[in-house]
Amino acid sequence: MTDAIIRFDKVVKRFGDLTVLDELDFEVKKGEKVSIIGPSGSGKSTVLRILMTLEGIDGGVVYVDGEPLWHELREGALLPAGEGHLRRMRSKLGMVFQQFNLFPHMTVMRNITEAPVKVLGLSRKDAHLRAEELLDLVGLADQAKKFPHQLSGGQQQRVGIARALAMRPSILLFDEPTSALDPELVGEVLTVIGRLAEEHDLTMLLVTHEMRFAREISDRVCFFDRGQIREEGTPEELFTDPSEDRTREFLKAILD
């Protein structure tokens, strides 16, 4: 309980009349690699977006690193957090988007160095050196001067990963990082994510439809269904012997 780096405590999220998350309880331990699978519209992205502070919550408490993410403790009461608190909390997390969301008017190098310079206060030179290391890590050392539109989707997503890593997050969120890619480009991105999964300290939360990959890298797999975790367990348990019918149906449909 206490070594949870992420904890959702009865979190409610609504969009108008639609309750997307209904008193969700969910925990991730420090360094854990967790995959989230489940049908479209089940609230997978919403969980990540709440963590990245892109989406607020309507009930419950989200804890990151033991501190409430969307609340501040003031005079013994949990009050809605101000931008200062959110900024501080946000620095612990990084996100890789389905559509990459690179800045189209900036070179690859600039995409990666912009936030470290502006937010972390790194010098251009230090940010540059760090970006070169990261580009090396994602296999794009020779693409620094290109613009996003000059790269393939797979390359763009690897830049997206490098950009997120440049902020040194302790939690990295992946929202279907390969869903927008042509099939032949999926492998190169998964290779990079797989390499990151070997890092002991990095906590990873991955929403994906790549079942084989999820099975390989995850410590735990959660099956989401209608805003609830219908079933969770080790990849072995969940993929080979799911106990819920819904899980079995979903896996059958997606593996066929």
Binding site: R87, R90, F97, F103, P104, H105, A115
Partner: protein, 230 residues
Amino acid sequence: MLFGFEWDLTNPLNFAISILPILLVGMWVTIQATVLGFFVALVLGLVLAVLKSAQSRFVAWPAKLVTEFIRDTPLLVQLFFLYYVLPEYGIVLPAFMTGALALGIQYSAYTSEVYRAGIEAVGKDQREAARALNLSAANTFTHIVVPQAVPRIVPAMGNYLVSIMKDVPVLSVVTVLEMLNVAKIIGDRTFDYLVPLSLVGCLYLIMTLVASAGVRVLDTHLPKQGLPLK
């Protein structure tokens, strides 16, 4: 004689040549009014765009109302308002200033929409990426939104520059001696309207072509790598 220049009525060509310098004086006034009006439109339009996109309804609503009011009333109404009403409250501006201001106010309603559309065209995905990277709102605006919005804004603003130029003759009703007014005075005095008005048409054509070309040059030199432009 006007502005110290005499005209030569011996034949149309000589007439044209002799009044060209007079018309050029008027043209210079037209250009000044255009530039000043455009400048006011750019600044005021930006202010209106920012106000209209404000979170608070109490700020956004009045700004929207003002924009709508400006857009739905003729330029001449605003011009008369500034020219005849302001002095009643002790604000007396030269006719030229009043005119340029009226042009700027009228067009700020349009430019504010251009700004807004340009800013809105920068997708939510960009703002979310910036937020995920913890960039401040100010940094997001200046380094992510503005550089992507400007290339979208410039061509539309160029069109309004030309429109303002073509609206300058309206200022003649408050005695501004812009080019058309000058031509009309020459016509009144010589009973030959054909030559001065034809010249005004030609000079206008030259001005608008030059302005459009300038906007196009600016446009092609703006960095817009990878921006999905139509």
